[in-house]
């Protein structure tokens, strides 16, 4: 994957997402939420390409359903649109539903980006120094999952080729028994493997000294600058939030704080990854056209 932000130090990545997702959780002001949603969608698209578009379109129904449902549960609000029996369906509640849905979808999108950018090795690299034993455990789990899947497929294939596979006419009970057998075989195999893994770990000095962690990522000056910019923007946004720029009331009546410089800071903050991505794409294009 060619994404400029992903190539930054994991600490920078991690802090950014803490900021982005953390802010999305607390913000209720529609303007800010919309910015969060749009930037999240842009970055998600940049990271995932066409496949990302499918996911985003898939989130649309979620957005609509969440929006429409809220007024059914919440009847407060000054402007009833229509009545369902004796219960009013109010504009304010509908808007509030839209805001919640917006927040939900934005958080999902940013988490999607987080998954793409902060891969397992970056995560363990970040926290390896703080909790070495747990991070090693995590790494081993990451290694075991694909291993298990492969071995399960092998066992199922092997059993099929001696006529012990699940036939088309098998009953649920037969399927369950067959699954249990495979699981049993898998456990035995895994235990056998873990003895070897344990030997291999001890043979390489596991437990003979306090573990250190190999850091494959280094903070470059560019990372430091980026970190400084990020923290400044985030700081400004937080100051804005504290001074009440993010305030929003929906029920009983809609009251929104006027839009101010806080929005600019927040937008700039969230635009960092997509901007870096686009900047690099353009740079690459220019340098290639020079060749």
């Amino acid at each position: 994957m060619r994404d400029a932000f992903s190539k930054c130090h994991p600490a920078v990545n991690f802090l950014f997402f803490v900021g982005a997702i953390g802010m999305s959780v607390v913000i209720q002001h529609p303007a800010y939420l919309l910015v969060g949603l749009l930037t999240g969608a842009i970055y998600y698209l940049l990271l995932n390409g066409k496949r990302g578009l499918k996911t985003i379109l898939g989130l649309l129904p979620v957005f609509i359903i969440l929006t429409v449902i809220n007024p059914l549960l919440n009847t407060l609000g000054a402007t009833p649109l229509f009545y369902l029996g004796s219960r009013p369906y109010t504009l304010e509640a509908l808007l509030y539903g839209a805001v919640t849905a917006c927040m939900f979808v934005a958080i999902l999108l940013w988490f999607g980006c987080y998954n793409k950018v902060l891969t397992s090795d970056k995560f363990t690299c970040l926290f390896g120094n703080l909790i070495p034993s747990i991070s090693l455990l995590l790494v081993m789990v990451f290694r075991m999952v694909p291993n298990f899947i492969r071995k399960t497929q092998q066992i199922i294939g092997a059993r099929k080729s001696i006529g012990k596979g699940i036939s088309e006419t098998a009953t649920t009970k037969e399927k369950l028994i067959s699954g249990g057998t495979v699981l049993g075989a898998l456990t035995g195999w895994a235990l056998e493997g873990s003895v070897v893994t344990g030997d291999s770990m001890r043979a390489r000095g596991y437990g003979t000294a306090k573990r250190s962690s190999f850091m494959i990522y280094r903070m470059t000056w560019a990372d430091w600058i980026l970190l400084a910019v990020m923290l400044t923007l985030l700081g400004v946004t937080i100051v804005a939030a504290c001074s009440g720029q993010f305030a929003a009331e929906f029920v009983p009546a809609i009251e929104l704080a006027p839009i101010s410089w806080g929005l600019a800071a927040y937008t700039c903050y969230l635009l960092i990854p997509p901007a870096l991505h686009i900047k690099e794409a353009i740079q690459w294009h220019i340098s290639r056209s020079k060749i």
Binding site: I162, S200, F214
Partner: protein, 552 residues
């Protein structure tokens, strides 16, 4: 001072009832030596190697002494042992601990608590030395077996050991990856002076380069000499281990050669051309293949298959006809699609084009109970994937209730004495035979074998060959996928070359290997300049004998 000094070491496992796994072993290993340890499965090689590193030493009763650089091994600090004594095991997969290549390289250094600067330098150094740069950031799960084993070696070398112990490191690898690996080990020995102790089934690649060969039998060292002398000694003793010696040695003594015996193919060629400058008989009869095959047991027509929608095709028009009652071998490079072809026959993968006919009937017309009950069965590459119970007997009983039949098959596969053992406690060769027994209990008429000789030593290979011959006599058709050209040349009736997703050529082994100049057996490479169509050591010996008779 010797690097390792083993003095009168005896060892017995707690469950062995006093039977000694090691019996009075004395061995001295000098710094920088390259030592090959050979012996049958169960002769105590692994037990001996594990004693050389305290954390790996099994529990049991131990007598005698092991000195590492003059200090008893128990008194050598664990930290020093981890760094100084490197140990590579058999299974490439299970030895790897972490999920990323770079992390695995650093694992040992992390355990020792090295600082960032040292780690960075060592990891970079190792990645370069072993040619790992290109896959440094990859997930371990995406590596090939050969790459995994190389990674295991590199991550041990990162700790800069003085001695490297390798326990059958290439038994799970294909021949090309295996010789890559062994060349790297040799390079380490020559360039860095690291002491190497290695056990191996495939002696052809390492025997000529070893300083010493040590032969073990029944927990005792029965010979300890240069490889050249070991060949002579084993021949004189009529030891079973002679069958495991490299081809040039076997041909030399088989043909009654005198003087220094050749170790490599090159030396073998020189010796042959000196001894038989103008051979009177120089060709063995090699019958041609019948083009017409009546009623093939298995016929494949234009199979096309790929694993995922947008991945490249693995099978690209595979066609073949397997005559009934033959042993049909498919050879070819790694990842060429040989195993996939077998899977396609079994219906584990479904080709998107083409036809598979088993005994003249399209495979999809069979009901699965009909197909796998008395018609077709496959022995997978890893026999472990067939074991699901606690004992071999229970595993066999899963296939049939008929005790008598189980006993018969157990006799054919020679596993009667193993029936009450746990399948995982058996050696590689024994597991292979137990799995084969389980497969045979489906009473197949067409038997598919995926790499049946992988990880098996030469004695078990011969046993397997005898079993396969017995099955053939009973009229069972056997299709075998293998990397083992020597085995195919010796025992197959027909050999096919698989390349680029297709079956390219098919011929009798003699004509197939006799006409190849690279992809062929050591015996053929050694003798092709004087004899033609000699593809096994036995063939070459036979021609030598005929020439001697003709000369008289």
């Amino acid at each position: 001072m010797a690097h390792f000094q083993i003095k009168d070491l005896s060892f017995s496992y707690p469950t062995a009832k006093g039977k000694k796994s090691l019996d009075g072993v004395s061995l001295s290993i000098e710094k920088g030596e390259y030592i090959v340890l050979c012996g049958k499965s169960g002769s105590g090689k692994t037990t001996l190697l594990r004693q050389l590193k305290s954390v790996l030493a099994p529990h049991g009763k131990k007598q005698g002494e092991i000195l590492f650089n003059g200090t008893p091994i128990e008194k050598v600090n664990q930290r020093v042992q981890s760094a100084k004594i490197g140990y590579v095991m058999q299974n490439p997969d299970d030895q790897i601990v972490t999920d990323k290549v770079w992390h695995e390289l650093a694992f040992g250094l992390e355990s020792l608590g090295c600082d960032q600067k040292t780690m960075r330098a060592r990891v970079a150094e190792m990645a370069c030395y072993f040619g790992i740069q290109d896959w440094f950031h990859r997930d371990v799960a995406n590596l090939s077996g050969g790459q995994k084993q190389l990674l295991n070696l590199a991550s041990i070398m990162a700790m800069q050991p003085e001695i490297l112990i390798l326990d059958e490191p290439t038994s799970q690898l294909d021949p090309i990856a295996a010789s890559d690996f062994l060349n790297t080990v040799r390079k380490i020995n020559i360039e860095l002076g690291t002491t190497v102790i290695i056990t191996e089934h495939r002696l052809e690649d390492i025997f000529p380069y070893a300083d010493r060969a040590v032969v073990m039998d029944g927990g005792k060292i029965i010979a300890d000499d240069t490889p050249r002398n070991i060949g002579k000694l084993l021949y004189k003793q009529k030891n079973d281990m002679f069958a495991a010696m490299p081809t040039p040695i076997r041909v030399f003594y088989g043909a009654g050669g005198n003087g220094d015996c050749p170790l490599t193919v090159r030396e073998g060629r020189t010796w042959l051309s000196k001894t038989y400058p103008e051979p009177m008989v120089n060709i063995l009869p090699a019958e041609e293949l019948d083009d017409e095959i009546e009623k093939p047991a298995l016929s494949l027509k234009e199979l096309w298959f790929r694993y995922e929608k947008d991945s490249p095709d693995v099978l690209r028009g595979v066609s073949a006809d397997v005559p009934a009652g033959t042993l049909y071998a498919i050879v070819g490079g790694n990842g060429a699609g040989k195993s996939t072809t077998l899977k396609a026959v079994c219906g584990i993968c479904k080709p998107y084009r083409g036809k598979v006919k088993v005994f003249g009937k399209p495979v999809e017309k069979y009901k699965s109970t009909e197909l796998f009950g008395g018609c077709l069965a496959m022995l997978p590459q890893d026999p472990k994937s067939l074991f699901v119970k606690k004992t071999v007997r229970e595993d066999l009983a899963e296939m049939t209730k008929d005790e008598k039949r189980i006993a018969e098959i157990a006799a054919v596969c020679e596993i009667k004495s193993l029936l009450s053992s746990h399948p995982y406690d058996l050696s590689g060769g024994e597991q292979q035979r137990a799995a084969l027994a389980k497969v045979l209990l489906t009473e197949p008429r067409l038997l598919l074998l995926d790499e049946p000789t992988k990880g098996i030593d030469s004695f078990f290979k011969e046993k397997l060959a005898t079993i396969l011959c017995k099955l053939k006599e009973q009229g069972i058709t056997i299709v075998m996928v293998s990397h083992d050209v020597e085995f195919c040349a010796k025992y197959a009736d027909m050999v096919s070359m698989f390349f680029d997703g297709q079956m390219l050529t098919t011929d009798t082994p003699r004509r197939f290997f006799g006409n190849n100049s690279f992809y062929t057996t050591a015996a053929n490479r050694m003798s092709r300049h004087v004899f033609s169509m000699a593809v096994t050591a036995e063939d070459v010996v036979e021609l030598c004998r005929q020439n001697k008779e003709a000369a008289v």
